[in-house]
């Protein structure tokens, strides 16, 4: 019930991104894969945010998005692509671009980074792909 607006929400959000848009089918497949992994964090009490970020990775570059994270909370950013032969990575940086010590998980086309910020503020989430190929992706985000 809660996720029935999947396609409408994805299409509404995809249009707002500088990372290239993903097709509707690709976005749905990627989101489903990301949600499968994010389910593991839900078992640890993390709440999944409704909105996701779907797009196509720019060739040879990471897709980068600013997020406002709050001290005291813990976060997981989980990404997936439908390109099975690729290795995806998720990394978190400070607002100035310095990498933060995040726990990361990588398993081919799905990846995640977990972080508990000591200070509230702007951070940058980066999604990259090992071969520099433009592939569709979807990022979901959980907190507790």
């Amino acid at each position: 019930m809660i996720r029935t607006s999947l396609i409408a929400s994805l299409l509404a959000l995809a249009g707002t991104s500088f990372a290239g848009p993903a097709s509707g089918d690709a976005a749905v497949t990627c989101r489903r894969a990301a949600l499968d992994l994010a389910g593991a964090w839900a078992n640890d009490g993390f709440r999944l945010r409704e909105n996701s970020w779907a797009g196509t990775l720019p060739a040879g570059k990471p897709a980068l998005a600013r997020v406002n994270l709050l001290a005291g909370n813990r976060y997981w950013f989980t990404a997936a692509t439908n390109a099975a032969s690729t290795t995806l990575a998720v990394q978190i940086y400070t607002g100035r671009g310095e990498p933060v010590a995040a726990g990361t998980h990588r398993d081919g086309p799905v990846a995640a980074a977990g972080f508990a910020p000591a200070a509230s503020g702007t951070y940058i989430v980066a999604i990259s792909e090992s071969r520099g190929t433009p592939v569709p992706f979807c990022l979901v985000h959980s907190y507790k």
Binding site: M1, S5, A40, N73, G103, A119, S120, G121
Partner: protein, 268 residues
């Protein structure tokens, strides 16, 4: 179930192992500048903000319920702003674990959605909100409210009402920060003041308001909110190492309460 828990434990273990192995390079200045600010991702949800405050004390969230429902509007932009504030009130009811308040807010959201011609989009969600409140599934209620906002936003966008999406999102964020500001003003500590830090969000909304059609941004309420946003943004953007003082928090709370009153007031 057991399989999922085991998977979860394995993932956490794998995460710890890989944390030590990763040594990413800093981003370039160009990459930092190019990082996108996405409305659906970059702005913290009410649940996220309330959860952070819940970690450093036991806020009496019920103390921040509104005494009277907002006055009904006929102007669609004002209805969208008001709708956003009521969605934030729904999160507040969930945080306070108040079943009746959740149902009352759900009824008000339904009326506002109806005023925008979006009643059908909310009908089923309304029943779910009541069910989650009755069964005291507060996390599920939070998720449902997020889904409500996303679905209403998608429906507005689908009807070429993108400006209403911005106003609903702004109303929700303002009311959330208003509630958090009230909690902070009543129980000030520098640590708690630091939690509310959200650089760039007020700036983002100011830019979005600036891009609205003239007939909307010249509405007195919208124009007044736009005028006040820079002062709010300045308080929320102080450096992490020097959080707002008690006096600054009181000033911010007064500013926010004024904006929420403007949204709730009868149209002139």
């Amino acid at each position: 179930m057991f399989r999922r828990v085991r998977l979860s434990a394995l993932l956490v273990l794998a995460a710890c192992v890989s944390a030590a192995a990763d040594a990413p390079q800093p981003l370039s200045e160009e990459e930092v500048r190019g990082a996108e600010f996405l409305e659906g991702l970059s702005i913290p949800t009410p649940g996220e903000i309330f959860a952070a405050f819940g970690k450093i004390g036991k806020p009496d969230w019920a103390a921040f319920f509104r005494k009277h429902p907002p006055t009904p509007h006929t102007s669609r932009p004002l209805i969208a702003l008001s709708l956003g504030t009521r969605i934030a009130d729904g999160f507040l009811a969930a945080e306070a674990q108040d079943r009746q308040q959740a149902k009352n807010v759900s009824t008000e959201i339904k009326l506002l959605a109806k005023s925008l011609g979006l009643e059908q989009e909310f009908m089923v969600r309304s029943n779910s909100i009541a069910d989650f409140a009755d069964s005291r599934r507060w996390d599920s209620l939070d998720e449902e409210l997020e889904a409500v906002q996303a679905e209403l936003a998608a429906a507005m966008a689908g009807r070429n009402d993108a400006e209403l999406v911005t106003l609903m999102s702004l109303g929700c964020w303002l009311r959330t920060v208003d509630i958090a500001g009230a909690q902070l003003a009543a129980n000030y500590t520098p640590e708690a003041a630091g939690i509310l830090r959200q650089p760039a969000v007020a700036e983002f909304f100011a830019a979005r308001l600036d891009a609205l059609p003239a007939k909307i941004k010249t509405l007195p309420v919208v124009a007044e909110i736009q005028r006040r946003l820079p002062a709010l943004g300045a308080t929320l953007s102080l450096p992490a190492e020097s959080p707002p003082s008690a006096e600054a928090v009181n000033g911010m709370h007064a500013l926010l309460a004024g904006m929420i009153s403007l949204i709730a007031a009868p149209e002139k």
